[in-house]
């Protein structure tokens, strides 16, 4: 029984990581109808920004929760800037072209970040400094680290915060309008360029926070770390219903649980295939996702 509950905890810890990234994915897709391939790479960038900031402050030797929060915020700011740059330099020039053009551009940006990262940071994985000392809590035979707990709590908080921003604030209303119809929103006097830029900055900042938190729990970081995680997070967003914020959370947790369940069997090496198998299955059975309706509720 211990083993079962331990696996559930393992699955939720992993799922919360996907959920955190899926939230950003779903928001950008909701507003722009663009699979922002580079989202996973901004997450990578966030982890690296955190790495350099934390090392500059020598937090590995002197762990401190306050400084860890400062590092996270710093990394979020850096990535928000990076997100704005990406949107302005790469996505905006092709926004009115075909979806194919935007998609190839997005893949180009993703590759640029990954391999640019390899040139700048080197291909060899690095290990994230322990800004917060790792602690393990045991409840019966079930163990959970403080870092995993942090990720789960943070993902839930972000979900509620986003839900609030999108449905209860002025900018959220503008985002929903832009998503519904860009040109009409423009005619209504909404500065759609600003709304889209804001969405990118917000999404990128969330990805950065995710990058730092995940690197705390699983310290290995390398320039290609965002590729697979990002794709799985995208599948999580589709599973929950793309554009739907609680859906992204649900999708992320479900994929984490399913991967863990498979790892616990003799087929552990197939776990990278799980997410894509699920994707094909959803597309066949319920393309709108679990929480999505045929006319998706848009962000």
């Amino acid at each position: 029984m211990d083993t079962f509950f331990q696996q559930v905890i393992n699955g939720l810890s992993l799922g919360a990581i996907y959920a955190l990234i899926a939230l950003g994915y779903t928001m950008v897709y909701g507003v722009l109808r663009l699979i922002n391939f580079a989202h996973g790479d901004v997450y990578m960038l966030g982890a690296f920004a955190g790495y350099f900031l934390a090392n500059a402050l020598n937090l590995d030797a002197n762990p401190s929760v306050l400084w860890a929060i400062a590092v996270t915020i710093g990394s979020m700011a850096i990535c928000a800037g990076a997100g704005l740059l990406i949107e302005r330099l790469a996505y905006r020039p092709v926004r009115h072209h075909s979806r194919l053009t935007s998609l190839i551009t997005a893949i180009g940006v993703s590759l640029l970040l990954e391999y640019g990262g390899q040139v700048v940071f080197g291909a060899t994985p690095r290990f994230f400094p322990q800004m917060i000392r790792s602690e393990t809590y045991a409840i019966g035979g079930v163990q959970i680290t403080n870092q995993s707990l942090l990720i789960i709590v943070f993902a839930v908080v972000v979900m509620f915060a986003l839900q609030y921003v999108v449905h209860r604030t002025r900018i959220g209303k503008a985002m929903r309008a832009t998503s519904f119809n860009l040109s009409v929103a423009k005619l209504m006097g909404i500065n759609t360029d600003f709304v889209i830029a804001f969405t990118f900055a917000l999404g990128s900042a969330l990805a950065a926070a995710g990058g730092v938190l995940v690197a705390l729990a699983i310290p290995r970081i390398d320039p290609l770390m965002g590729l697979m995680t990002g794709l799985k997070a995208f599948v999580a967003a589709v599973l929950g219903g793309i554009g739907n914020i609680p859906g992204a959370m649900l999708g992320g947790l479900l994929i984490g649980l399913m991967e863990t369940a498979l790892s616990a069997t003799a087929y552990s090496t197939y776990r990278d295939a799980v997410a894509f198998g699920i994707l094909i299955l959803i597309l066949l059975v319920r393309p709108a996702g679990i929480l999505g309706t045929a006319v998706t509720e848009k962000v």
């Binding site: 109808r33 699979i35 790469a90 020039p93 092709v94 009115h96 072209h97 075909s98 979806r99 194919l100 053009t101 998609l103 190839i104 551009t105 893949i107 180009g108 940006v109 993703s110 590759l111 640029l112 990954e114 391999y115 640019g116 390899q118 040139v119 291909a123 519904f180 119809n181 860009l182 040109s183 590729l227 697979m228 794709l231 995208f234 599948v235 589709v238 090496t269 197939y270 990278d272 295939a273 997410a275 894509f276 198998g277 994707l279 094909i280 597309l283 066949l284 393309p287």
Partner: protein
């Protein structure tokens, strides 16, 4: 008269390839192409097949597949496995051996056909669910499919697992590679100028409008996807059975698919000539830049990424656009002209990659399709 010309052209091509094959593989009168250059030219041939076949889906039909390496893997492993496990028996059917002559020829033919069939089946299974939906999903599903295939191959010790399929019998020759490359070009070109090609073009232009005009969009998309996958499978079979070039799951990853995409983007999405040219550039460049690569590791991939973005922003039509290099200028002036698919003006609009009718920018337009 036309039939005779066709037969003559085919015979001439085969004869030329057979002669070149001798120069490349065994040498004539002391002259043999340096094996290193011969290898590069062989790899160009395989990449031409990959690029031109991907062009059928990404260029003609306007769908976006990111899993070409996956189909290459399915076909390649199937074909190689066929000759490793049953090659000798197949060669024995015609009274030959795998060492050469009719036996090797038949074994190779059978293995490539099996590879094509397996890849076509995989293409069908992946294409049906994803092609019913918007193009974006196809990209992710094909990418995911490629990863699934890679993971499955890693788990099969009979085909070498992580070590790669090193038991492969080196049956691939210059002749096979270029027969397949030429065949691929002819097939895709013929599709492009047929009713099927027009249907794909309509789908690329505006799927909803095409459907309204009675084009069975899903069916055509799946068919194009299946043919493209089958050809990628044959390329895999050629690659896996090339001397000292074993298939390896680690190499048939997402990056290999991207490489093929870059080839057709540079050449011009939709242009066969462009795909051929792109395949040539992207095979020769890394070899020519070996020393540069060593000094600035990873810079080549950064260059690919920048090329993708810059081409999309400034020249989405690639080097060639949708133009083709043809032999018509060799013909006598009184010959009937080949009908040109699109007027230059229509061509130019296609090049920008814009939708023919941008519904978002029209007053009366609606976005209900999103």
């Amino acid at each position: 008269m036309r039939g005779l010309r066709k037969i003559l052209a085919i015979a001439a091509t085969l004869a030329a390839l057979a002669v070149l094959n001798i120069v490349f593989e065994s040498g004539v009168g002391g002259f043999q192409v340096n094996p290193y250059y011969a290898r590069i030219i062989d790899l160009i041939g395989i990449n031409i097949t990959l690029a031109v076949s991907l062009n059928l889906v990404n260029g003609l039909a306007g769908q976006f597949s990111l899993g070409h390496a996956g189909f290459m893997a399915v076909g390649g492993y199937t074909a190689t496995y066929v000759t490793v496990a049953h090659g000798a028996a197949i060669a024995g059917l015609v009274g030959g051996t795998l060492d050469g002559g009719a036996g090797a020829f038949v074994a190779m033919l059978v293995s490539l056909c099996c590879g094509a069939a397996a890849a076509a089946l995989a293409g069908f299974l992946v294409g049906v669910p994803s092609l019913r939906l918007k193009g974006d999903y196809l990209a992710i599903v094909t990418l995911g499919f490629g990863e699934i295939i890679r993971v499955i191959i890693l788990n099969i010790p009979a085909v070498g697992g992580a070590t790669g399929f090193t038991e492969a019998i080196p049956l691939t020759t210059f002749f096979w590679i270029f027969v397949v490359a030429v065949l691929t070009i002819v097939i895709v070109r013929n599709i492009a100028t047929s009713t099927f090609g027009r249907a794909l073009e309509a789908i690329r232009g505006d799927e909803i409008a095409a459907e309204a005009m009675g084009v069975r969009t899903t069916r055509y998309k799946v068919l194009a996807f299946v043919i493209s996958s089958a050809l990628a499978g044959v390329a895999g079979g050629l690659s896996g059975q090339l001397f000292a070039n074993p298939l390896n799951p680690q190499q048939l990853n997402f990056m290999r698919s991207i490489e093929v995409v870059v080839m057709i983007v540079i050449g011009g999405i939709g242009s066969i000539t462009g795909a051929v040219f792109g395949a040539g550039i992207l095979t020769v460049l890394p070899e020519a830049l070996r020393t540069v690569d060593q000094q600035f590791p990873g810079l080549r991939m950064v260059l690919y990424a920048l090329l993708l973005i810059l081409f999309m922003i400034f020249r989405p039509q690639g080097l060639f656009g949708r133009r083709e290099f043809g032999w018509s200028w060799l013909r006598l002036p009184n010959r009937t002209k080949i009908p040109v698919a699109l007027s230059d003006a229509a061509d130019a609009r296609q090049h920008t990659g814009r939708r023919p009718v941008d519904r978002r920018s029209t007053l009366g337009g609606s976005d209900t399709d999103d």
